[in-house]
């Protein structure tokens, strides 16, 4: 089908070769519907061609094949044929019922045709030439009866156990793949892994279009399933090993490292839920979509910081996913309640999803996958993982790559991630977490300060990309009203917290008080002196006034006397003039 398409287009393209850029005929793909697989293969398995899914026992080959078939029938309206060689159709139906796949129902709707091919070597006697035409006939019949587009052969190699002539079987299998291709049937063939080969009978030699390898390994008693697309002719594909999970919803593959650093950047800020911490971050809080690491020793307040953020997020009507590896939901609700953080209300409202599971429950990749699935389900604005260090089931290297993938994934969604990290007391944080630190936008560091028989908590912002954050160390105090950040006393190379800070503050207050008292005294003294001086001035001034008065009196008296003298002289001269003119008695009297 695909071939005829290509042939039809080619002549047209040839004529206009020079005028328009030639578009390379891309390989048509059939989506499997398996979450994640279609991403790593850019669309699914090659359409109309066979794909081999191989791996050891219990690696999930059959599950992969069945999901491809069922999802094809249900989501993409492509009916499928299931030909099983190892399990009966009843067994198969029961096996996948737990995934919510009802094969019998699909069969009734003519979306699925199941055929169990039993290969029983003990029943068969070979007497000359034969071929596997019976298989072709059955397949043809199955395909025709429902108009199938997809075929699953699980596990085709079982025919090798039933027939002795392997040369003939190989020829027949080659013919079968040709036959499937000619009919444009998108086929998934499962095959058991061989010794040093992908498949026990070398099927991959015949199916060269797409080979998927599944692996189930156990490290430190923790199992991890991985998938690798070994070959995909004519298509780019993720070549890494991708972890995958089989759960109630079937297979999920995590397309881990296909992400690029091109996530959208948000200028929007989100409050941390602790006003004092917001104040340290330009007064606005974290950036939306950033990754925040809260690290510290045990009991330094990491979870409380995280819970504050969760509460704040939900208070704003946004959604939050809280993944806890240490506390169960009930325990966290109670404990956070004791420091004034209400997690119960947002949980009841459905805004906060609290998920707790044991870190040893799964391998690293499984944790990651679970978080992925939860994020897809809950669609949170904020994801909190408390603590992320509990994920170190594998090596540090593995954890680093896992975290990177997780952070990338969350960033690409614009989801703010808050991770807490537990540090050993004697370890140097900047050394041990150098791997994570490069991935983190805002790093808040909580540390214990043990002094004067007390253990107190300090908080500082180690780094915060894209903002002028505070460089201060603050004391982290938990109360019934939640977390408060108090300024610490810094002096003589030491940081004082707790009662040492309190006593220092008291001392400072006392000093301040005495200083104030002294000033007051000085002021009063001055007041008094001023009053004294002013009194003196008054006295002097009144003395002066007195003197002036006296002077005035003297002057007046002088004036009066002078006048009197003048008057008397005038009178005298008058009298003298009279006596000189009449008798000499008057002149005598006047001179006496």
């Amino acid at each position: 089908m695909a071939g005829s398409h290509k042939n039809a287009e080619r002549p047209r393209g040839a004529g206009t070769l020079t005028e328009q850029p030639r578009v390379a005929p891309t390989l048509e793909k059939s989506p499997t519907g398996i979450s994640g697989f279609d991403e790593i293969t850019n669309g699914g398995v090659p359409q109309g061609r066979p794909t081999i899914v191989c791996g050891g026992p219990g690696c999930g080959k059959t599950m992969f094949a069945l999901e491809f078939l069922v999802r094809g029938a249900m989501q993409y309206h492509e009916p499928g044929v299931l030909m099983t060689f190892e399990e009966t159709t009843d067994e198969m139906t029961k096996n996948v019922a737990s995934l919510g796949f009802d094969l019998r129902e699909l069969e009734a709707q003519k979306k699925l045709f199941m055929d169990y091919v039993r290969v029983e070597p003990t029943e068969i006697q070979e007497t000359g030439e034969y071929d596997l035409e019976g298989l072709f006939v059955r397949l043809q019949h199955a395909v025709d009866s429902i108009g199938a587009k997809r075929v699953v052969l699980d596990t085709l190699e079982a025919v090798f156990s039933g027939f002795a002539n392997s040369g003939l079987l190989r020829a027949e299998i080659r013919r079968l793949f040709r036959w499937l291709k000619d009919r444009g049937l998108t086929t998934v063939v499962t095959a058991e892994k061989g010794d040093g080969t992908l498949t026990r009978y070398g099927l991959e030699e015949y199916v060269s279009d797409c080979v998927v390898f599944l692996d189930h390994r156990v490290n430190d008693q923790v199992s991890t399933r991985r998938m690798r697309v070994i070959k995909y002719r004519g298509s780019s594909h993720g070549a890494d090993e991708y972890p995958f999970l089989i759960d109630e919803q079937g297979l999920s593959v995590l397309p881990v490292s296909a992400m690029k650093l091109n996530h959208a950047v948000f200028n929007e800020r989100v409050s941390s839920g602790i006003p004092d911490l917001d104040a340290m971050l330009e007064g606005k809080g974290y950036y939306r979509g950033s990754s925040i690491l809260v690290s510290g020793t045990s009991g330094s307040g990491k979870s409380s910081t995280a819970a504050h953020f969760a509460e704040q997020t939900c208070r704003e009507g946004k959604r939050c996913l809280y993944v806890a590896f240490e506390e169960s939901q009930a325990q966290a609700v109670r404990n956070m309640g004791s420091v004034g953080i209400d997690l119960e209300t947002p949980i009841k409202k459905g805004l906060l999803r609290f998920e707790a599971w044991r870190p040893t429950q799964n391998g690293l990749e499984m944790h990651l996958l679970r978080i992925h699935k939860l994020v897809e389900e809950h669609q949170p604005d904020v994801v909190i993982i408390d603590p992320v260090t509990n994920l170190t089931v594998g090596t540090i290297n593995e954890m680093h790559s896992t975290l990177m993938r997780l952070i990338d994934f969350l960033k690409s969604r614009g989801t703010t991630a808050l991770l807490t990290s537990l540090m050993g007391k004697d370890r140097d944080l900047e050394q041990t977490e150098v791997g994570i630190s490069s991935l983190i936008d805002t790093w808040i560091f909580l540390r214990d300060v043990e002094l004067n028989g007390e253990r107190n908590r300090c908080l500082y912002v180690l780094k915060s990309r894209g903002m002028a954050h505070s460089n201060q160390v603050r004391e982290f105090v938990m109360s019934k009203e939640g977390v408060q950040l108090l300024p610490v006393y810094v002096g003589a190379g030491t940081v004082l917290t707790g009662s040492a800070r309190l006593s220092q503050e008291a001392r400072e207050r006392a000093e301040e008080q005495s200083r104030q008292l002294q000033t007051e005294q000085k002021r009063k003294e001055l007041e008094r002196r001023r009053a004294a001086v002013e009194a003196q001035i008054d006295v002097l001034r009144s003395q002066l006034a007195e003197d002036e008065d006296r002077l005035k009196q003297v002057m007046q008296e002088e004036e009066g006397r002078k006048q009197q003298v003048d008057e008397e002289a005038a009178a005298m001269s008058k009298i003298r003039r009279v006596e000189s003119a009449g008798n000499g008695r008057n002149a005598l009297a006047e001179g006496a």
């Binding site: 006697q125 007497t127 000359g128 030439e129 034969y130 039933g162």
Partner: protein
Amino acid sequence: MTARVKVVPKRPMSTRHLNGSAPSMNGEFFELRLYVAGQTPKSLTALANLRKICNEHLDGRFELHVIDLVKTPQLAQGDQILAIPTLVRNLPQPMRKIIGDLSDTERVLVGLDVRKNMEAR
């Protein structure tokens, strides 16, 4: 097509009687089915070989159905037919399957458990 019609001219159905006769008292009765897919050389050879063997060794104590899966593909599932041609011994129990063009007469006889019967007689 024509060749097969010559071999079994009685019924046009793909499931048909060949040389059928009443069960003999001398030995066990054989109910045989030969599955073929169209008129391939292998099928024709098998049918010819089978006729010969039946006539020589089973002495009328058999019933043979030839089933052409091209016409009735749904019948392949029941007897779990994979290889073509396949001869199924339905009776006597247990069921036996012999695949191939039946050119190795000895093996066919062993496969059908006829040899034993003959010796017993």
